[in-house]
Symmetry: none
Subunit: 86 residues, 2 copies
DNA sequence: TTTCATTTGTCCGTATGTATT
DNA sequence: AAATACATACGGACAAATGAA
């Protein structure tokens, strides 16, 4: 197994594990403010999980205030100054 | 009672009896390696017992190394060469 | 204007995981 | 052991929004 694969046996839901990975990429600056997060299709290919799982992960990131989503366009990284709380 | 019905009066737990039946179907080759075991719903209709009992039986088969399970997909017959010897 | 590709939104069906009663 | 409910996951289909050709 590669280091960047998710672990179905981990106990923690795949969508949560994926949200954690993406959060790390955001906090590290790899995914910069106002820059788009990879599309659901791209993410589903990168990690390989279903789109359903991708959408759960992105929903979680929205709940954490790390991204915002625009239908027909994509999801974008919320700038730190716009993040509620934290 | 039909010959292929399980026997609640047997003393041995229904789930164990069912596990034995399924093990026989696996060892006979009726359920081939990497092929899916019937879904919990199908099994619950074939034998008629609750899903809970089905799940106990499948858990037993996992413990015996005869099947592996993938959440959201199903359970599959472990090829003989991959079965940890008992 | 229409057409098209891309992306997210929604709904459906099926299956397993976990918990409660 | 049974019955129920809800969460998580996979797969497919179609709708809605966006933007470009």
């Amino acid at each position: 197994m590669h280091d960047d694969d998710l672990d179905p046996e981990h106990g923690r839901p795949l969508s949560q594990q994926l949200a954690d990975r993406l959060e790390a990429r955001i906090l590290s600056g790899e995914l910069a403010p106002h820059r788009p997060v990879p599309s659901e299709t791209q993410l589903a290919q990168a990690y390989p999980v279903s789109r359903d799982t991708i959408r759960r992960a992105v929903r979680e990131l929205r709940a954490r205030g790390l991204v915002y989503t625009v239908q027909g366009k994509g999801s974008y990284v919320t700038p730190p100054e716009d993040r509620p709380q934290a």
